[in-house]
Symmetry: C2
Amino acid sequence: MAYTVTPWKVQGDVDYNKIMKEFGVQAIDDKLAKRIKKHTGELHHLIRRNIFFAHRDLKFILDEYEKGNKFFLYTGRAPSGHTHMGHLVPWMFTKWLQDKFDVELWFQFPDEEKFLFNEKLTLEDTAKYTTENMLDVIALGFDPKKTHFIVDTKHANLMYKEALKVAKKITFSTAKSAFGFTNDQNIGAIFYTAMQAVPAFLPSVIKKKKIPCLIPHAIDQDPHFRVSRDVIPKLGHYKPASIQCRFLPGLGGMHGDGKMSSSSGDNATIFTTDDEKTVKKKINKYAFSGGQVTVEEHRKKGGNPDVDVSYQWLQFFEEDDKKLKKYYNDYKSGKLLTGELKAILIDKLNKFLVKHQKAREKARSKLDKFIYKV
Amino acid sequence: MAYTVTPWKVQGDVDYNKIMKEFGVQAIDDKLAKRIKKHTGELHHLIRRNIFFAHRDLKFILDEYEKGNKFFLYTGRAPSGHTHMGHLVPWMFTKWLQDKFDVELWFQFPDEEKFLFNEKLTLEDTAKYTTENMLDVIALGFDPKKTHFIVDTKHANLMYKEALKVAKKITFSTAKSAFGFTNDQNIGAIFYTAMQAVPAFLPSVIKKKKIPCLIPHAIDQDPHFRVSRDVIPKLGHYKPASIQCRFLPGLGGMHGDGKMSSSSGDNATIFTTDDEKTVKKKINKYAFSGGQVTVEEHRKKGGNPDVDVSYQWLQFFEEDDKKLKKYYNDYKSGKLLTGELKAILIDKLNKFLVKHQKAREKARSKLDKFIYKV
């Protein structure tokens, strides 16, 4: 089945094995997982379930860490709308990495990216969403002492000069083949990848020493780092390492939009600001079911958890392996009905969101602590 | 005869009539010259001699000025080396415009431009030359209260956001055809024209009102403004007007490098920091002569001031029309020998440079007054 994965478009039923070969990323095998576990005590459920499934140079990061040379984390969010559950996935994992390895996180808000790639968005729109998205990041509990927010247009004095050094070493041909640009692409969009490269070495520039960088991100962002990994060592910095996750499927299921996208309409998405009623309504109405048409048939034949969106989502958000296994078996046997599985997910999400939304409101007064001071 | 005029390369015997048609700029005719004179009392010798020879929308600037709507001036210098006499030409004219019309000047130092277009230059090089070049601008006597220096990497917080708005409206196709880019061009160089567009409307953004902009510049920079003039009105600002000058010929004459360039070697150039002996030596040794091979022949046949570089230079730097006319006639008749004409130029340049170099040293303590405070 056909699919597309670029930093600006994810569509179709993504074949992750194929994409690993295409992009040239490595699988996280048992040996590597064990090596992570040595330092973290336990493995995050997103690794256990192969949702964070691939990497580049993670061994280098662990080698250096074991020599006492700590890495920093870099991830980001290009503000273009409200935060949805899909966005939280790599951030939750990043928070875990920060806690377990006790490392700094540089979080980029490239507020120009979606402006440049979306005809309708203005810089006022992206500025508004930058603040909204920041609240969600803070609400996840990152350590303000070890977390630095970078906003491209606000930190341009810091960023632009470094981006120029990257840009000088990337030709239009390279950008064209990595991102599928045509001659109709605007010159800001063409330049943009240089800005996304900067946080991968900015801490090394600021602290005037080489520091390894690990970038947790969804697999669609890999083309940016594929290009910048070639350039950054030429500027005297370590080649950044990365760890990639799959996409949280949209409520409509995995055979439509592979990635849950806020641009596929509000009903394909759970936003972090959705209230309990809305969450319940959306899941009940829109979450694609792997169940049979009638209760009788479901009891007899059982459901298919591998295509059921509620089950897929529980893989991302239910940390307890035993519970998850039980849901899988019970749904497959027909013991658990689709409505019941949906109720489990609704409960799980709402418990999380009620807490998240409180933390999110408290985050308004903390913004200043997180935004990097030049 | 073949010639090339782009913002990064000027070569051959430039045909200014042809270039006016090619670029689509208008000649400064007598009617327009008179209209300028109405406001300035006298005409600058660079206009009288058709060295500032072309314009775009100068009538609009005068219309608005006569309605009481003052314009601001915008010019610049991309730091890549020491300042030479050719650089001073548009700046001297700009100073005259500032004095006569009592207007603000925004002076851009795009310290990334030559870094992006020249493999060998580093940002440390361009930073060093930025300061050096600033000293020459200040030494010309601009009013610090009405003159604002903008340095792209230092004022990126101000510039980058505005450049993005421009960049979004320029495709690679447009940049390709305006600047002759190929797919091998680096993505920073492709983006750069957006940064050069910004000072043409930045004062309007800062002061939150539409202010007309007049850009005095050498004709090679026109492709930038040809592109940005289409874009800037779409952002809600006036289309910037411009006034263009010819190039000061290199010492080797007009049939080699049309433009005097510091990259054609130190001997083709008089730098603002050259001492009296160096100036004398360079003019005597390298200034292309329009004279005859022997004194006897020169006395009999006369010289050709139209190709003689010393005479060409006096057109730029000798303000007195009567003196200039006498030099022309005497050289043509054979009364004035090449050595004598060179001595006149040497004296003229050294008198200027001794004064300029003193002002240049004093300028070091004034830098801070000129650099725009955000």
